[in-house]
């Protein structure tokens, strides 16, 4: 009973973590950008989705759709207002670009959070479940919504896999992550590829946001937490490795769930953090990272 509870809850939450992290790691892989405004992007999608759904009574699905759209928009803004200017800046020495992008997106993330805070207050909001009701699974009373969310996550991740491995655009992404210069020499415009990867990122982060809103609920205060957890998962899995982050998402997700069930809900996040520190010490490139 307890075991199956842990199994099910862990699975759903991990799937959500995974979805949130995949986009994050994809961007790093292809364009070497660590987007510390990640939580902000998810937040916008979640809040817009919730707002549309509950204030205009459009129902969760249309709300979710618009939320994802908002996430996409926010991803573009992040790219065009913060990331690209820094990448193209003449005044910023190339050696310091990385740290400037980190600081820039960090600030941008705060602006998003405070802005949302102002518009929607920092009360947690929850979207009406897309699939109400509960089903009995392995003897555990599980919300239908929770299951469907796990399913959606995996369907989307599957689609992503197809995109990367079965389409020409996907090949270009993969190539860009291995050797951008080589790709330029073959006549592909990196700027287009970056735009593509930010679009994919926007959709993934947006979806993760609205799903979170309808599963656990979010408040503008969560932005930092969301970024931190995505960042940790991605580093744990190995920066730039999609499969790595998925595995890491499940490691973290189950570690947290097990802690919450078997030790104490209050200690929930700690073992994951300790594990992260440990991995940093013994294997800095992460579980699946290439040096």
């Amino acid at each position: 009973m307890l075991a199956s509870q842990i199994l099910i809850d862990g699975f759903a939450i991990s799937a959500l973590y995974g979805l949130g992290a995949v986009g994050f790691t994809l961007i790093f892989g292809v364009s070497g950008v660590l987007n510390l405004a990640h939580g902000g992007v998810m937040l916008v999608a979640a809040l817009i989705g919730w707002f549309v759904a509950s204030e205009y009574g459009t129902g969760p699905f249309l709300g979710a759709a618009l939320g994802i759209l908002a996430g996409l928009g926010m991803a573009y803004l992040t790219y065009f207002i913060v990331v690209r200017p820094i990448q193209r800046s003449r005044v910023i020495p190339a050696a310091e670009q990385e740290i400037f992008i980190l600081t820039g997106t960090l600030l941008w993330g705060i602006m998003i959070q405070v802005g949302m805070d102002y518009l929607f207050t920092d009360n947690p909001v929850t979207m009406r479940p897309m699939f109400p009701g509960v089903v009995n699974l392995l003897g555990v009373r599980t919300p239908r919504n929770e299951l469907m969310i796990a399913v959606i996550c995996w369907v989307v991740i599957g689609l992503l896999w197809l995109l990367v491995n079965r389409t020409r655009a996907g090949k270009q992404l993969a190539a860009a992550s291995i050797n951008p210069r080589g790709l330029t020499l073959l006549g592909f415009e990196l700027s287009n590829i970056y735009l593509l990867v930010w679009s994919i990122y926007g959709v993934l982060a947006g979806l993760a946001g609205v799903l979170l809103a309808s599963f656990l609920g979010v408040s503008s205060g969560n932005a930092g937490q969301l970024t931190a957890s995505a960042f940790s998962i991605v580093v744990l899995g190995g920066l730039g490795s999609v499969s790595g982050s998925l595995v890491a998402a499940y490691v973290v997700g189950y570690l947290e769930t097990v802690t919450a069930y078997l030790i104490a809900p209050t200690l929930r996040p700690i073992p994951a953090l300790l594990l992260l520190v440990l991995v940093m010490y013994v294997r800095p490139q992460g579980l699946f990272g290439r040096r």
């Binding site: 307890l2 204030e55 909001v125 209050t266």
Partner: protein, 423 residues
């Protein structure tokens, strides 16, 4: 009211401006006007519903008093500060209020952490200070332990101990009396105000007839409550007694979505606001919480008029600390009147003699000899608080019996003892 959020946004921003203007105006006037306005500082978090309530209510009270000609010929002026619910910001705001804006009294926050950080400054700067919503016992305990230092601090809302007591009393009448419940699990967030709350729960719930099977404290930044509810359910209690304020929407919604078959009662501060129904998409149906007062329940002649006026003005009924903050402005003014001066020590003496019937009932403060010095008196004839239950979109008063007499209704997934007995 098609989209209150945007409206609320507009209101916030509008009032914010007016506050700014008011400030400017005040600075300008002081020189000219003969009778300076009496300034009262209000420190709270704008972005939080409970925080906004405090200021809105205080301003309403001030307007009423000024409409009647003010106090000793001078107007009451509310100076508002946003503390983002951060102790540091609150302390800074407090110093600003005292040193720069020369307020005569301060109404501060509904969060115990913040109030506890401000309290020593109230003592150091000799500023009559009162909290409309924080509950931690330590606030009044400090006053008791070091009266000379801390006498400037007043506790304008029930201490955790009394909140717990009132909940126990309510539970005894309703849950045990009517629904024949025997067991409970206490579930509260890890925060300043719940520490004494839980202590009292563990004493008074058994006395009220509910055996406490388990006692769970969780981190206020918890977002996933599934494990907690599952743990509780495994214990098979008849009821969950809550002590939550920082969190509210998430546990409630997840309780509903997971169809946890155990009713929730106790203190869920966010559930005391009328917007909570919408915030939870109605998931709060059947949730019971203690509150300062309840729409449509005449704890005193002023309760209903205030609630209506407030709702009319701000589009939502006041949060529990809205009631208290409204009263506080009134009895501070009253105290100044009696003291005939705004001198801190005189004001404190006057406040100690407060006997004022406000929206939450008859307000008096315990004396320095009592363990809860300067805390609100609890009990019949004073302030008891009420218990409300969310029933299809409305907050319905279910306790105390002498004020209201509504039936308890729970959503279908909740299993009540006698039903289980019947099966």
């Amino acid at each position: 009211m098609s989209h209150p959020i945007s409206v609320r946004g507009a209101l916030l921003c509008a009032t914010r401006l007016s506050a700014a203007v008011g400030l400017a105006a005040a600075v300008g006037l002081t020189a000219a006007q003969a009778a300076e306005p009496i300034k009262i500082g209000v420190i709270s978090e704008e972005a939080a519903v409970a925080g906004a309530s405090i200021r809105h209510a205080a301003e309403m009270a001030a307007d009423e008093i000024n409409a009647k000609g003010g106090v000793n010929g001078s107007k009451i002026e509310i100076v508002a500060y946003d503390d983002h619910s951060s102790a540091a910001d609150a302390v800074r705001a407090f110093q600003r209020a005292v040193n720069q804006d020369h307020v005569k009294a301060v109404i501060v926050s509904y969060i115990s952490e913040v109030v506890l950080a401000v309290e020593p400054w109230a003592a150091r700067l000799h500023m009559p200070t009162i909290t409309p919503g924080a509950a931690s016992n330590d606030i009044s305990k400090r006053v008791h332990d070091d009266y000379a230092q801390y006498k400037y601090m007043f506790h304008g809302w029930l201490t955790s101990a009394f909140i717990a007591q009132s909940i126990c009393d309510g539970a005894h009448d309703n849950l045990v009396g009517k629904l024949h419940m025997k067991t409970a699990v206490v579930m509260s967030e890890d925060a300043a105000w719940t520490t004494p709350l839980d202590v009292r729960y563990l004493q008074c719930l058994p006395q009220a007839g509910l055996q406490v099977l388990d006692h769970i404290r969780f981190n206020p930044d918890t977002t996933d409550f599934t494990p907690i509810f599952n743990q509780i359910e495994a214990k098979k209690p008849d009821v969950i007694i809550t002590g939550i304020s920082h969190v509210g929407v998430q546990p409630t919604v997840q309780w509903h979505d997971q169809q946890v078959p155990i009713p929730m009662a106790g203190q869920s501060s966010q559930a005391t606001t009328s917007t909570f129904w919408k915030d939870t998409n109605g998931a709060t149906e059947g949730v019971i919480t203690a509150s300062a007062a309840s729409p449509g329940v005449a704890l005193s002649p002023t309760t209903i008029p205030f609630t209506e006026a407030y709702t009319k003005k701000f589009g939502a009924s006041p949060s529990y600390d809205g009631y208290t903050s409204y009263d506080e402005v009134h009895y501070i003014a009253d105290a100044i009147q009696r003291a005939g001066s705004t001198d801190a020590d005189k004001l404190v003496d006057a406040l100690e003699k407060t006997d004022y019937v406000g929206t939450v009932g008859r307000v008096q403060f315990y004396a320095k000899t009592d363990e809860f010095t300067h805390a609100m008196k609890y009990g019949k004839g004073f302030v008891t608080g009420v218990e409300i239950q969310w029933q299809n979109g409305k907050q319905v008063c279910i306790w105390p019996a002498d004020k209201c007499e509504a039936k308890l209704i729970f959503p279908s997934f909740v299993k009540l003892p006698q039903q289980t007995a019947a099966q």
